[in-house]
Subunit: 306 residues, 2 copies
Amino acid sequence: MSPAAPMLVTEPAAIAALVGAARDRGRRVGFVPTMGALHEGHASLAAAAVEACDDVAVSIFVNPTQFGPHEDFQRYPRSLEADCRLLAARGVRWVFAPTVAAMYPPGNATRIVVEGPALPFEGALRPGHFSGVATVVHRLFRLVPADRAYFGAKDWQQTVVVRRMVADLGLPVTIVVLPTVREADGLALSSRNAYLSADERRRAVGLHAALVEADSGWSAGTPVETLEARMRRMIEAHGIAVDYASIVDPESLAPLQPAGPDTGSPGAGCDGPAESGAIALVAGRLGRTRLIDNRLLATRRPPGTT
Amino acid sequence: MSPAAPMLVTEPAAIAALVGAARDRGRRVGFVPTMGALHEGHASLAAAAVEACDDVAVSIFVNPTQFGPHEDFQRYPRSLEADCRLLAARGVRWVFAPTVAAMYPPGNATRIVVEGPALPFEGALRPGHFSGVATVVHRLFRLVPADRAYFGAKDWQQTVVVRRMVADLGLPVTIVVLPTVREADGLALSSRNAYLSADERRRAVGLHAALVEADSGWSAGTPVETLEARMRRMIEAHGIAVDYASIVDPESLAPLQPAGPDTGSPGAGCDGPAESGAIALVAGRLGRTRLIDNRLLATRRPPGTT
């Protein structure tokens, strides 16, 4: 038996009423905000939401306010019918696909601005991007008052910014971040991979290869600066123009703090204390296509041990 | 019998629990956010809240993020004991007076930014002011989940910005705006009036005098530009340096639209259609003290009638 197609809802008031009524009946609601052009990464979020919740809503909205004036808003892939089929197979109940006019009614003038972890990396390269993300996610959370909202780790900085906003504004939702889904060669799934030519697609693996290399060097205690330079060289060797290739604190996205002399930890004086956790973030351009990826780094071997 | 003193609450979690519990018991909660140094204007807001609601909370918080680096945050008057006495006499139940550290915990990085009506006038002269106001009001509304929140019309643009934010973010609170309370000579009550020397205090009436003059000219059909120039001259004649003296739409704070040729209204071609409503906004400086005031203008006589 083929699964039931999700109900396609375009009116904000309608999705709010449907989800609100489910919550009022005591049902646990999961929510997956997306820009459509769904792939197996999105499908894994929807499947996890269906597993953990009674009813799941997926939004499909290519949000203009998170694109810069020279970015790919117009050509961003749209595939609503295929998206709905994919979500039906995962047991999603509602697909919320509003128009831009419905999401931004005339006269609206309020934005959410996150600073701190939103400032470096994508925030620096895409001015206004995270304000657009935070604002639309806030609006979606209001329309879809879910218990749990699901985001993919591929857009790591986005997950940090959303969690920061949720904490600061006291929004009543739990943010769940799930691992990046990858192609066989390691390329992170992204709707933007569709832009790549066959040659670009082959070279795109350079981002993941650099992350794997960094992870290995991190475990071996190689200094951060060495690893960052190595990532940069590997990415460039694949014909990718590097935007950044950095190892930072996974929550603040600030440079790792060397352990102070008073900590007494074996990592004192090294680039990152063994316990702290770190993430490698990379971004680069292949032709007109911009790709990002990241990897949480494994436990670091204290320097001076073998 | 003297009225009961309000409960003084400094912990955000405590006020949230108290107000939340009252709401859960079905009580209607009113809220008056203030920066303290309370005067009869604040007292009128508290009295109206007590009249309309079961329980009333007043916050007293001199919010640093709405002051510019060269503004009067440090010298802004603080008078918590006198404030509590004034509120006791009005039947207020809770006074919420948090510390700056409690309102802005380490790591918080999210601001609310309102554009549109927040951009001109105070928004242009005090960069970041309305973002500070919107952010702290949003935070206060979360801690004090009231049915109704009360603001004075003296800070007209602030009331527009707060109502804009409440609408855009879908906050579940009704905003009530009450008339400005004035001294016998017309000076609007303001905590900053305490800064004025005796001579400045005498001359401060120039703002109100200009508004009264504008209202009278508006009723008579005098063109907006004439009225704005007249207000400016009157304010300057009182030795007040004018920041602005403008007549605009009360909701958008944009210049009034001349009625188009297709409206057929008697006001066609004049400075503001008879039906539209208008507000005069003034701001000026007496020595180091900056004062603002405003007046909603009466119905305009159609031009060409007598």
